[in-house]
Amino acid sequence: MKECAAEIDSVVRENESLKGMVHHLKETQGQLLRSEKLASIGRLSAGIAHEINNPVGFVSSNSTTLLGYVDRIKEILKMYRTGIKKDLIDKREKQLKIDFILEDIDQLLMENIEGLARITTIVNNLKKFSRDQQSGELISADINEGIRSVLILVKNESKYYADIITDFGDIGQIPCTISELNQVFLNIIMNAVQAIKEQGRGEKGLITVKTWRDDAWVYIAIADDGPGIPQEIQDKIFNPFFTTKPAGTGTGLGLSICYEIVVDKHGGDIQVASRTGAGTTFTIKLPRIREDLNG
């Protein structure tokens, strides 16, 4: 009897410590997920900084120019108001190139407005991409919309190396954690861009993103015409810490986290089809209805 109680005691203790370990592992996993999200944003940040600093550059330069324009217009206006002889005003207007300024001022303002719109688009998409949503919390969202926001962010980086075309089906909304799925799309598309970039071929590559659905599933296929993934490592790419990048440049977590988000968290599936030299296609399927959660 005593022995039995002692055994139960030790089992309880072990159980407790196991619980603690599971909790600890879950926490670590959450941290990894967050850091991977930061890493994937980091991959984009150079492109985004470029895309923001260009419009900031010309908008701020134009604003300084505009200040000079306004000073000159004020000077002429003052001359008119004080009733100086018209021919003197004309002469001064010529000196100050008022005709040119009046012509340029509209154009300048239009360009500034477009510059600000460009910045706004990027900031909005960054917000959309990283929308605050608890991990595991499912909210109806439009996958096409999510991919669109990812593509706008990716474009800054990709446009020098690949054209991206989309073929969006009418797939409606599905219950999901859209910010996590966006991370999946971002990772796969950025991998494609990087693979094409590293090929260093003289022409741009092509990436296609296609969505469609059947009764039960929504499908997303992301295909590139890059170098392809060698047969012998295809079954390893979803393993944690598997990476082909030199040490220090990648966490090796990208695709394993994609797998976890799609399969474990959304009850979906992710498949890869690839031939060396011919390109790679990732196909993701996600359930349209989460019966496992309703039951």
Binding site: I52, G57, S60, S61, N62, Y160
Partner: protein, 398 residues
Amino acid sequence: MAESILFVDDDRMVLNALERTFFETAYRTFFALNAHDALTLLASEKIDMVVSDIRMWPMSGYDLLKEVRARYPTVIRLVLSAYGDRRMMVKVICEGVAKIYILKPWDNRQFIGQIDHLFTMYRSLSDVQSSGIISAEKHLPVLPELYVRLVRMIEEERSLKEMAAMIETDPSCTVNVLKLVNSAFYGLSVGSVHQALVYLGVDCIKDIVLVSELFKGAGGLPANDARVLLNRHMIVSSTLLHGLHQRLLAERIREEYSATGLLADIGRLILLDLQPDLYRSMLERYVKEPVRSLTELEMNALGYSHEQLGALVLDWWSLPAYLIEACLYHHAVPSAGSTLPREVIALIHIADGYAWRIAEGVATVAIAPEAAGLFPISEKDLDDHVASIMSRADCINR
């Protein structure tokens, strides 16, 4: 005829803004949306300067500027980029692909000022060159091989460890690098080349390698008194620059500028190689009977100064604008537009003056009021700072 500038950027609106920025200046301006158009313009127009973006398709600005350097070596090259990647900046400057790397957004007036300044600088250099007194092809030293190898490693993005190992294959250079870092960089103490690279960065170490190779003298000439004097003078100047920067500007000198105190007088080292007897006697005269400035002595005897010679050689080696400025202006601080901040140029001048006074006993060296005037400090306080820096540094004793 006014100088002409070609701007290259794949963003039409950036070009429009630049066109407005330079509208009222005397420069003739040209604009291209890609590298191909830029090269076409370069072939048909007389272009003096190219200002290019980095990220462009299909040919990047980096490749364009390299091409420009190969085809039109006299065209001044600048980068104006929204892409602030530090690796790219170091690469562009280290390889001499561009003289200055400017980040967007830019300030209109400051940008024009920088370009005005650059053209002024080149005009004064080309005066010396076209006078035929110095002919680059005939007399000037070539870049030390170790330095060229180091720059190639930076280009190839090799690790600091590999770079340290490469430098260490040359024992005399290793000794010199460590000596320079520990004696000329006030307050720093490193035990290995790798440590020096970590502390100071490749940007700075490559300049130190350059100086240490030049310290050796042309063709392995034996060290003489004049060379020892000059080496010591450069080290003391550099120590004072670092110390004064920390005290008067309340921060460490920026990494990429930290070898400017050493490099500013590089023209003197080269002069000593070009005209050993003449320059040695000039130095002796200067130290013994210091009545005039050394620059004046040089101008009278040679027709050019060590400032001009140093700047010319650094430009010939495709080194960045801030190093050329350190050479050219450390006896005449420019009013505005330089890439190297005026305060730093002024401090190089002050440090150089004090180094003559303290280490060589040339009591009559004058500090230019426009340099000292940049700092709200009395002459007495400046003397005290210098004395306290020197008492802590051990650079005189070696």
